[in-house]
Symmetry: C2
DNA sequence: CTAATTGCAAAAAGTTTGCAAGCGT
DNA sequence: ACGCTTGCAAACTTTTTGCAATTAG
């Protein structure tokens, strides 16, 4: 299942590049592989370091440039987690989700709620607004941190 | 009404400073006045410039430092509008709202929807998550830009 | 008075860009 | 080959910080 999705993403990216006359270089390959391999939330620099550990070189500049391409092809999204900076995450076209962000331990919990989505759609309609995407972030304390609370 | 709210905010800030043994300086006064005067969304640098035009000097450093204090006292919030950077906005304790952000003209429309708020609360409960605040941003094309769409 | 505050300029942090050398198709 | 890419280092943008001079309470 997971493997299939990675394959799919790689194909999407490849097709995206092709359609724009761009090339699938060693670096771009490595970057998307790295992102798909360890799904989750990451910073650009993390990718550089993870690759470096594997003896693969990709400069910071290349990573930023590639992340931009991945964003264009809708394969990754940027998530601003407040104080703690910005993260990227891999997304599959069919699996939108929102985030609970713990301001204490920085953990990020994903969730999806149909009712919420529907109400948002209604709000857009009401404002004559044509949504392309949205981001709902709920900040607070996660289960664990509530207990540890001093 | 609006005047009253400004007064209220100023008082909240003053009390906040006092409670921390901090001082209400000329600069801090000017900064909060400026924010309250022209409600809306703004960048830190905008405040510096607006004040400069009025011949009031407040260095960038001071503006940043003061915005942080205003954030601590819950009088302003930061709003990340994607590509276009980050804005701050004045908020009154009793008037939470979310945002429709037009990716074409960068306009920001505020809205509030009780049903949405309730569903979010339910989600938090379900995850044993203690919310402190949240931010819902819906990106897309506003009414005007939909028409102008090429 | 005295501790908090300011402005400045330097330092950070994060991201972008120009350009010569290198690589994919 | 040709044109897209890369790496590098420099440039930028935004925000933070150390410090001597200043100011609010």
């Amino acid at each position: 299942m997971s493997k299939k999705k990675s394959e799919q993403s790689r194909e999407i990216f490849q097709r995206f590049l092709q359609s724009k006359g761009l090339k699938l270089t060693r670096q771009r390959q490595a970057i998307i592989d790295e992102i798909l391999e360890e799904a989750g939330h990451f910073e650009p620099d993390e990718i550089v370091n993870r690759l470096r550990r594997k003896k693969i070189n990709a400069s910071r500049a290349t990573v930023y440039r590639t992340l931009e391409l991945l964003r264009e092809s809708q394969l990754v999204e940027k998530l601003d987690i407040g104080e703690a900076g910005a993260l990227y995450e891999h997304v599959s076209a069919d699996a939108h989700h929102d985030h609970l962000i713990c301001t204490q331990c920085k953990s990020v919990i994903e969730f999806h709620h149909e009712g919420l989505e529907r109400q948002q759609a209604a709000i857009c309609q009401h404002h004559d607004f044509q949504e392309t995407h949205h981001s709902l972030r709920i900040f607070g304390l996660c289960k664990k941190c509530r207990k540890t609370k001093t």
